[in-house]
Every structure is written in C-alpha cells, then in structure tokens.
C-alpha cells in the first residue's frame, strides 16, 4: 500500500494545459512530488537528473514522442524500472499495442477523470493510501 505522497511523478506533455490538468488531478489524489517536462528529450534529462517512480507521458510530442521516450527509459539501466503510463486518444489501439511491446505499464485515454487516473495508477502500484 504505497502512499501517494511517497511517489515521485514526472508528467511529460508538450501542452502546458495537459500538464496542468494531470498535475491538478494528481494533487487531488494526494501526490505531492510532481515534476514536469515538455517532451521526451527533456523528460529523459529530468528523469536522469532527479528520477521518478512514475512517468505519465503523452504520446504526441515534438522532438521525441512518447514511444521513443518509453523505449529510451527502458534501455537505460537506472531508469529501466520506472513505471510508465501513456496518455493516448480514444482510438489509439494500435499505439497501445506498440507501447505494450515496449513495456508500458498502463495507458490512460484522454479526456480522463481524476478517478480514472487514480485507477490506472493503482493498477500499476496497488491501492494508494
């Protein structure tokens, strides 16, 4: 039963709006340690510099998209085990399947609710306190 407040999250999205929405939902769930990055490249840098238990990343981003970001994380020893939840569209079945191939932990379709975000995180880490 991990405490939400003990989990460090990195939110990666090129949209300020989306990052703010995810952050706001995370805070409602009880997360306090939330970092942000605007794309995969910056995300990797942040991850390497500070680490995170959980990455919540968009797919569609300039420079490095969510899939490449996931693969890069999985290829790098220190970040290999970081949990990864991909934000996807409603009809991105193909994308989800490719993400499975690269070891995504879960995915969350947009638009999402705080409840669905919590469920998706709990499906990875178990119930949160």
């Amino acid at each position: 039963m991990p405490a939400a407040s003990s989990i460090r999250v990195l939110v990666v999205d090129d949209q300020l709006t989306m990052r703010a929405l995810v952050r706001s939902a995370l805070q409602q769930i009880g997360f306090t340690d939330v970092n942000e990055a605007p794309d995969g490249e910056e995300g990797l840098k942040a991850l390497v510099a500070k680490g995170a238990h959980l990455v919540i990343s968009d797919y569609n981003m300039p420079k490095m998209d969510g899939l490449d970001f996931l693969r890069a994380i999985r290829s790098h020893e220190p970040t290999k085990k970081t949990a990864f939840i991909m934000l996807t569209g409603r009809s991105d079945k193909e994308l989800v399947q490719r993400a499975i191939q690269f070891g995504v932990n879960n995915y969350l379709t947009k638009p999402f609710t705080t409840v669905s975000l919590k469920q998706k995180i709990e499906a990875v880490f178990g119930a949160l306190t």
Partner: protein, 734 residues
C-alpha cells in the same frame, strides 16, 4: 481563481498558439515550403486543441477538432495527398476551429451552418480516400473499477496493466557517479533493396549491434503491403534500436560499414548518463507580440498577464527541464530575450523624451551665454546631443515590432472575402518582419483590412471576367511592408481591373463631388475615390460596403501622420501605398513663428519654402487669398489667423510661405512670420493634457521650456482646399 479556471486560461492561450501554428503550417504546405514535420506539427496543433477541449467538456470543439484531426491523420500517413483543394478546405476548417475556440472562451456562438458545412467537407475528405468513416469520438469509457489490489484484468483492447512494486523503482535523488560512461543510442536502420540484392543480411547486422551493449530492437513493418502487392525485390522493413552502450558513434557505424551505401542509417545519441547538474535554462521569452487574434474575434478577455498555473507552489519543485517549457515552448530559445511590461517601456520612452527636451534646453541656454562653438563645453554638448539621439533611437527600437502580428490575420480575411465573393484569390505577403512602433502597429490593422476588402471585392474581377480577359483565373493580392526613408510603407496591390476612370469621374460628377467641366489628370481622378461620400460599387456589397469608404481609411492614416496614394493601371490592377512614420513619439519638424507664437510644422508635409513677392498674392473675396507658385495658384492660409492668434492677416510679402501638400495631393501655402529652424521634437498629446484644438495635431516642449503647438497641416487646409479649388480654376481663367 479556481485552479481549473486558471488551467482554462492557459488552455485558451495555448489554443491561440496552436491556431497560429496550424494556419502557418497549412499555408507553408500550400506554398510548397512545408515538409513532413510541418504535417506533424499541424496534426499536433489540432490534436492538442481537441485534447484540452475534451478535458473542459467543450463538446462542439471536440467534435469538430476530432473530424479535422482524422483528416490530418490521413494526410500524415500519406493516405490523403497534400493538394491545393484539400488545403483550402483545411484552411477554412482552421478558421472555423478558431471561431469555435473563441466561442468556447468568450461564450459567443458560431455560425452553425458554416461549421456543419465544413464538417461535411472534412468528412468527405476523410471518406474520399480511405472509404472508412471517421470514427466518431467514443463516449467516455469508464471500465468497471476492479479492486485496486486484485490482479489486473485485461481491458477491451486486451491490455493487462503491468504491475510493479514501488520499491522496485530506484530513485535517483543523488545521481551518484554513474557506473560507466553509458549512453543510449537510437539507431534507425532502413535497408535499401540493394542491400538484399548483394546478399547482406539485416539480422546479422542487428545481432552485431546487440553485442555492443544491451539492445532493444523493434521492427517497423508498416510499409509491408499485402502479399499480392508485394514486390520481391523491394525493401519494406526498417528497424529502430535503442542501444545502451559505452561505445561511441564510430563503433556503431562500423558495424554497418559494408552496407553503407545500401541503407539509410541514423545514429542519434539520446542521453548521457553522467548528468551534469542541470541548471534551469534561461526562461524563454517571445517577442513582445500580442497573442494573435482572429480578425472577427473580440479582444481576448483573458488577460495575458494572468498567472499561468505553473506558478503554483508545487511548481517550485518542478524538474529543471520544466522551466524550459515556458510560453514560447522553446522555439525562441535561440534568441535570449526577456519579457518586459509594456508600461515600463513606455515610461522609459517618456523619460528619454524628457531627456531630449532637457538636452535641447541646456544647449540653448549654453548658446545664449555666448560660448564659442569650439569650446569644450559646446563640444561636450554636441556629444551629449549625439548620445541622446542614439539613446532615443535605441529606446524606440525596443517598442518596435514586426508587422507580422497584423499581417498574420490577413490570410483568413482574404479567404473569407474570396469565399463570399466567389472569387479565387491568392494572397502573397512580403516583409512581415518589417518593424514599426507598437502604437503604429495597433492602428494599422483597420486600414489594411479595409484595403484588402476593397482589393478583393472591387479590385479583382470575377473569375469569368478574368478568364475572358486572358488572365489567370486566380487573382493575386500582394500585401507588402518595407522601410523607405525613415517611414514604413505598406503596399496593397492587386492584378485586377484597375480603376475605371470614366466611371469614377462620371460618378463623382453625378454626386456633385466635382465640377462637370473640371479638367483632371488620371492621378487626380484616381484620388477621387478618397473623397468622402464616394462609392462606385453599383450595389452596396456586404464586403466593403459597410458604410465606410476609402475616405475613412485615408483619415485614419492621416491621423497617424501618414499618407496614402494610389497607382492604377487599367486592366492590370491597382496599388495602394500607405506611408507612415515609424513612431508616433517623435517628429521631425520645422520650427516657425506666427503672431509671436512658436509653432512646429511636420517636415514631411513641407514641399518647399518661399518668400512671396507682392504681385504673387491675389485676394479672392474678403477672406481668401491664393498665391501663384510658378504656373499654379494655391490657396494661402495665414496660420496666425487660422489659429486665432491675430485677426488681421499679415502682409504676405513680409512673411515666409511654406508650400505644403495635403494627403489628398492638394497643395496649399501656409503663411508664417519666420522660420527658426529644423528640429526633432517629442510629441505630447494635446488631447490627453488639454483638449482637441482644430488645426493643432499635438504639442511639444521646446528647448527653452515653452510649449509649442504642432500644426495639423491637413486640418488647417482641408477646408480651404475644397473651397478654393473652384476659385483657383476661376483665377486661372482670369
């Protein structure tokens, strides 16, 4: 503010950015300057609008952007060709999308019919090439929540969440010395047919690559066609590998050495595992441009200064990288810029203005004490003057902005008028980077809008007329900005029918604007269109006939100290040329005196100065005089009398005459007592400090501390010119 409201403000700000990018991208594609990344960026823009709209429940916006996105996705995956027709639909769709965004923001409504029509066109595009209907956005799927600790169940896509324990994820709070100089390499390997033809084996190469370190290989088989369409000699597969290795790029490339010319190989280094302490990058600042606003939209209600949510307390912990994600999204990162409150800049400009006045006062006082010009004091003052000028120029440059912020709203405008008038129009823009003072920019939008409306509506022929005349069916309108002798020049030209002078003259006579027997040059006839109350359109059209004519455009340009002229070539088109001062803060003026008052005449209006001889001035009635300037008579205005400083006109031959040109091209002569010199003056608004005075444009403070009025030359002579025009003819005849 409710956190969600704050995010909403951010959303709409981002939407404006996205919409700008969308339009710019589509236009780049239309011009053929776009590439794959442009298509991706355009897709992302619509995708992002949709994503945010979904989160805030803007259903119309979600629906429209979804359909739009579907079509863009087809384009992205090469299932829909990038053709002019398709792009036209998309550009119009981007306009509707902008309307929907603004409606969502300001609570307005959108033209439902237009929206539905565009939606249909988009759906048609989506169906046309793929035969698959655009999947409607699925209503919110909320899978029944399983007990969080129960084993995850596969969902409708067969996905089983991958469980891990939080304890298994190491945190890198202290990025201790890395074990090795490991790096992640992304290797993209795309064999060409020749590779296979020569008997090389891609899998062997990939295996060798895997020896260099831990390697994650994925094959991209998206290009593999169905079996019956497959060409045995073609190459359909490509691989991307994420390699974790301490080897360098050369070592990776060496593996592919023997197939070098037979494959496409991209080796990218992704992250260095020895992170230097990452310092927050410099905040990214955009040029101080206002957010782009669609032409039909009311001014944004969201204050640009509203604190974006990233300023929330939690953000203080944000990863350093997040700092790079400022409003500019890293695009302007190359230019180190800072955002400054406009008020501060204006204050600075004001202060420098005072400094200029002060410097002039000082120079005058020193001169009055009789110091020799070659003395140290005088020379020091000269240097001070030079520096003050430079300082002023530099400060003015801070407020200078590219005209792009105005220009970028114009393509949409032209598209809309073109659609409304059923004409094919191409807008070519030039010189968008030309800089001009912010205050001037803000007031450029209306005149340009009006001139473009006119150009499309009246300037260009109908498509059929163009074809009959042997012209290209598509009319071209050019909007250009350039600097010319210290002023900014805006040109709007069309390749349409040009001004029908016969018709213009007939109309003007019919409306009583000119005398029937007036002999006029082509130029003079062309200028009739600037007369108040003139309109040649047989029916007042919806587009340009909104009760304002070119006379309004002209007046607003004149109010800015600008000039407008027209150059028309029958059958070939017309060009309107606007010329404006680069700033409204300073002015080059001629310092004159009249009735013991010191006055300033804007230098740009003065054609020449002359000393009248007694015989050259003729009286026409009790209050009117004309002066013979070479072979023409021009009305003579005694400035002292016109402004009420004296009742009786001075003896013309005792004063000096400034020959000035009004914006309409009409000439007049201003009689003053003396000319004191030429000087750059700082403009102070008279209206803001006192009230509007006829014949006076503004005021300034002179070197000796006195206030001097700046003459509104046009205002002074406008009345006289029209009154005297007929009389001049008489005088000429006599």
């Amino acid at each position: 503010m409710d956190p969600m409201d704050a995010i909403k403000v951010t959303f709409f700000q981002e939407c404006d950015e996205q919409l700008g990018e969308l339009e710019a991208g589509l236009m780049a594609l239309e011009e053929g300057t776009g590439d794959r990344e442009t298509v991706n960026a355009v897709f992302r823009a619509v995708h992002s609008v949709k994503g945010g709209a979904g989160a805030f429940g803007f259903e119309d916006l979600v629906k429209f952007s979804h359909t739009f996105e579907t079509v863009l996705d087809l384009m992205r995956s090469d299932k829909l060709a990038i053709e002019p027709d398709v792009l036209h639909v998309m550009l119009r769709a981007s306009d509707v999308l902008a309307d929907l965004v603004h409606a969502a923001r300001d609570g307005g409504t959108v033209d439902q019919d237009r929206c539905a029509a565009l939606m249909e066109e988009l759906e048609h595009l989506a169906l046309g090439d793929s035969a698959a209907p655009a999947p409607a956005p699925v209503a919110a799927v909320t899978s029944a929540p399983a007990s969080p600790d129960a084993e995850p169940e596969p969902d409708e896509w067969g996905f089983v969440p991958l469980r891990i324990s939080i304890d298994d994820v190491p945190l890198l709070d202290e990025p201790a010395a890395p074990a090795s100089d490991e790096e992640i390499w992304k290797v993209t390997f795309t064999p060409r047919p020749a590779l296979y033809a020569k008997g090389s084996d891609a899998t062997i190469l990939l295996r060798e690559l895997a020896i260099l370190g831990e390697c994650d290989v994925a094959v991209d088989d998206s290009l593999v066609p169905s079996l019956d369409a497959m060409d045995v000699n073609a190459s359909y597969l490509s691989w991307t590998c994420f390699l974790n290795s301490d080897k360098d790029e050369a070592a990776i490339r060496e593996i592919f050495e023997f197939v070098e010319g037979d494959c496409d190989l991209i080796v990218e280094r992704i992250v260095v595992s020895t992170p230097a302490p990452i310092t927050a990058p410099m905040p990214v600042i955009e040029p101080i441009a206002p957010p782009p606003v669609a032409i039909v939209a009311p001014a944004p209600t969201a204050k640009p200064t509203a604190a974006p949510p990233r300023a929330a307390p939690a953000a203080s912990k944000a990863a350093p990288a997040a700092a790079a994600s400022g409003d500019g999204e890293g695009k302007a990162a190359a230019n180190a810029t800072i955002r400054v409150d406009l008020e501060r800049v204006d204050r600075l400009i004001d202060l420098v203005g005072e400094l200029v006045i002060n410097q002039a006062m000082l120079a005058q006082r020193v001169a009055e004490t009789g110091v020799v010009r070659s003395s140290n004091v005088a020379m020091g003052l000269d240097e001070l003057e030079q520096l003050t000028r430079e300082l002023q120029d530099s400060v003015m440059a801070i407020r200078a902005q590219p005209v792009k912020s105005v220009f970028q709203r114009m393509p949409r405008l032209v598209r809309e008028i073109a659609t409304a008038t059923n004409k094919q129009v191409r807008l070519v823009m030039d010189g968008e980077g030309t800089e001009v003072d912010k205050t001037v920019i803000e007031r450029l939008s209306d005149p340009i809008t009006h001139m473009l409306r006119n150009a499309v509506d009246h300037g260009l022929e109908t498509t059929q007329e163009r074809i009959d005349a042997g012209k290209a069916a598509e009319g071209t309108i050019r909007l250009a900005a350039l600097h010319r002798s210290g002023r900014i020049v805006i040109e709007v030209s069309d390749d349409g029918r040009g001004i029908n002078r016969e018709r213009v003259k007939a109309k003007a006579i019919e409306k009583g604007l000119i005398a029937a027997d007036l002999n006029m040059t082509d130029e003079e006839i062309d200028n009739i269109i600037f007369l108040p109350g003139f309109s040649t359109a047989s029916a007042i059209s919806d587009i340009s006939g909104r009760g304002v004519g070119m006379d309004v455009v002209k007046r607003s340009i004149q109010a800015l100290g600008g000039r407008i002229s027209i150059n028309s070539n029958p059958g070939k088109g017309s060009t309107f040329t606007l010329s404006l001062p680069l700033t409204l803060a300073v002015l080059d003026g001629m310092v004159v005196s009249a009735a013991e008052q010191t006055l300033i005449a804007p230098l740009t209006t003065i054609i020449e100065t002359l000393q009248p001889k007694p015989g050259e001035v003729r009286r026409l009635g009790p209050n009117r005089t004309v002066i013979a300037v070479r072979d023409a008579f021009v009305p003579l205005v005694d400035v002292g009398v016109a402004l009420g400083f004296r009742k009786e006109s001075a003896q013309p031959d005792s004063g000096v005459v400034l020959l000035v040109e009004s914006e309409g091209g009409g000439r007049a002569a201003l009689l003053v007592d003396d000319i004191q010199g030429q000087r750059q003056v700082v403009i102070k608004s008279l209206e803001a400090n006192y009230q509007r005075v006829e014949g006076v444009a503004a005021a300034t403070i002179l070197g000796d501390g006195r206030v001097a009025l700046i003459l509104d030359v046009d205002g002074l002579i406008a009345q006289r010119v029209s009154e005297t025009r007929a009389e001049t003819q008489l005088a000429k005849a006599g």
